[in-house]
């Protein structure tokens, strides 16, 4: 116990220094975890059942909520576009605006945020519970590599399935935008899709899928990282779950900007 308090500037420097050290250690552990998982990829591909199981759990089971969220996102973007443009621009441009916004931004970002809420939390809670109840130690004692058995299938399933989810999300969101444009704003089918086609370039799909791939890694890596190193019983698992979803959400938004800067 310290009885004499250090002067405020020293305490601030100590506090910042401690946080920098903790962050540096965390980043180092994260890099090591990724390298460990990559080194298990060949064995994972030779015995793909674990990967397929996670692809179903992370990808297929996220599809309903992704479709639901995308439909309404597309719908609201068309409604907003219609409202904003009604006095200033031809409404025939709604399709162009919705298409561009959905392919470049809303499709990948919204899908990633929805999947982060579902998958990062679920992975962190599952692995965290396994950690604090010694199930991961039990795997180790049985000579079953937990990185190969638990971490790597989830990480690579995220990388593989997020691009597919984003394709589904993008298509459904544009369809949602079309429904609102057609029914509420009375724009014909041909006008809407001509608008979508007007500003469409193939490079947008490259951006869309690059974002999806990176976000897929962020979502599952956050869950695996915080779940795998959870400690301290139920409270520790709760904290790991919060850290996983908050980190995934922040990183998705940060990387969304960085990718836009680099690729646009």
């Amino acid at each position: 116990m310290k009885l004499r308090k250090e002067p405020i500037p020293i305490r601030v420097i100590e506090s910042v220094g401690e946080k920098v050290v903790v962050l540096s250690i965390g980043i180092g552990q994260l890099v090591m975890l990724v390298l460990d998982m990559v080194s298990r990829l060949p064995r994972l591909l030779r015995q793909p059942s674990l990967l397929i199981q996670q692809m179903e759990s992370i990808g297929l089971r996220s599809l309903p909520v992704v479709i639901f969220a995308s439909l309404f996102t597309g719908a609201v973007s068309a409604a907003q576009a219609g409202y904003q443009m009604q006095d200033y621009a031809p409404l025939s441009l709604i399709g162009a605006l919705v298409g561009k916004a959905v392919i470049l931004e809303l499709g990948p970002v919204l899908t990633a945020l929805v999947v982060a809420g579902r998958v990062s939390t679920s992975i962190a809670a599952e692995l965290g519970t396994m950690r604090v109840t010694e199930q991961i130690d039990a795997l180790e004692t049985m000579a079953i590599d937990p990185i190969w058995y638990l971490a790597a299938p989830r990480f690579f399933a995220g990388l593989l399935m997020m691009p597919l989810l984003v394709v589904a999300s993008t298509v459904v969101a544009i369809f949602g935008g079309y429904l609102v444009s057609h029914i509420m704003i009375d724009i014909s089918t041909a006008t809407f899709f001509n608008g979508v086609n007007m500003l469409f370039v193939m490079y947008d799909v490259v951006i869309n899928q690059t974002k999806a791939f990176i976000f897929g890694g962020i979502v599952t890596l956050s869950g695996v990282f915080f779940g795998y190193r959870a400690g301290g019983g139920a409270e520790g698992v709760g904290q790991a779950t919060i850290n996983a979803v908050v980190t995934a959400t922040v990183l998705i938004l940060v990387f969304n900007y960085l990718i836009a800067e680099v690729m646009l």
Partner: protein
């Protein structure tokens, strides 16, 4: 102790030191477990018994000192060597640590499925045999959440012996069980160790477990092996610290932390 003597024992711990959160948990621990012997490690709650057991199987690495398995230092093994060594071990955790998303049968079969070339019918037969040995024949399809504490420990035991281990490690096998179930678990462990001719290390603070299944006892106190001997020798010890622990008295040289 020379290298020749170290080669002759199954598990050799030499001058083990471990700090956790800046606090010395193990200061200088040295002991041997000869092949075919059962060593009981006793001591107060929180004295580092489970930490010591985790060092034996390489789940934790020492800050200094050595853990030797048949003369090979566990801290110097690569992952392949470590896993090859662990194939020879079975461990029962204090909480049983059953995989709660798997059935009883899948829990017992997991190691066999991933670490052996056994066919599915052979694995099913082996799982049946292991569950039979712990008196849980026919419970393959139950989930861990449907089992009592004693049954979970027995499933943990069945899982620990599924790979025909040469060394069995038990972490508090009877903690949290009623006296009758604790006696049942003690008998099952004694019977398994005898039948499988394994080397075993039992971490416990239950002296009845020690008297039932251990050949030798090591009393861990303040980070060192404070006393060693047969269960009878430890029970009859006139050292005040050992005597207080054996008798379970509140007053004596050991001051309980409140």
């Amino acid at each position: 102790m020379g290298a020749a003597a170290e080669q002759g024992c199954s598990i050799c711990i030499r001058n083990l030191r471990k700090y956790l959160s800046g606090r010395p948990v193990l200061r200088d621990v040295t002991f041997d477990v000869p092949k075919g012997e059962t060593l009981g490690i006793v001591g107060r709650s929180g004295c580092g018994k489970s930490v010591l057991l985790k060092h034996v199987i390489g789940l934790m690495l020492p800050d200094s000192g050595r853990v030797l398995i048949d003369g090979k230092e566990i801290g110097l093994m690569n992952q392949e060597e470590l896993y090859a060594t662990r194939h020879r071990f079975g461990m029962l955790f204090q909480s049983a640590a059953l995989f709660d998303s798997m059935s009883v049968g899948e829990n017992v079969a997991l190691g066999l499925f991933h670490n052996t070339d056994m066919s599915e019918p052979e694995i099913i037969e082996k799982v049946d045999s292991c569950l039979g040995m712990v008196g849980l024949h026919g419970l393959e399809n139950r989930m861990p959440s449907e089992l009592s504490g004693g049954m979970k420990k027995r499933v943990g035991l069945a899982r620990a012996i599924s790979m025909d281990p040469e060394v069995l490690l038990f972490d508090e096998p009877t903690t949290g069980l009623d006296p009758i179930m604790a006696a049942v678990i003690d008998e099952v462990i004694a019977d398994l160790v005898e039948r499988l001719k394994t080397t075993a290390v039992v971490v416990t603070h239950d002296m009845r477990t020690v008297n039932t299944i251990c050949h030798q006892v090591a009393f861990l106190h303040r980070g060192v092996i404070f006393a060693e001997g047969t269960p009878e020798e430890i029970t009859r010890s006139d050292d005040e610290v050992v005597a207080q622990f054996i008798a379970g008295r509140a007053d004596g040289p050991i001051r309980p932390r409140m």
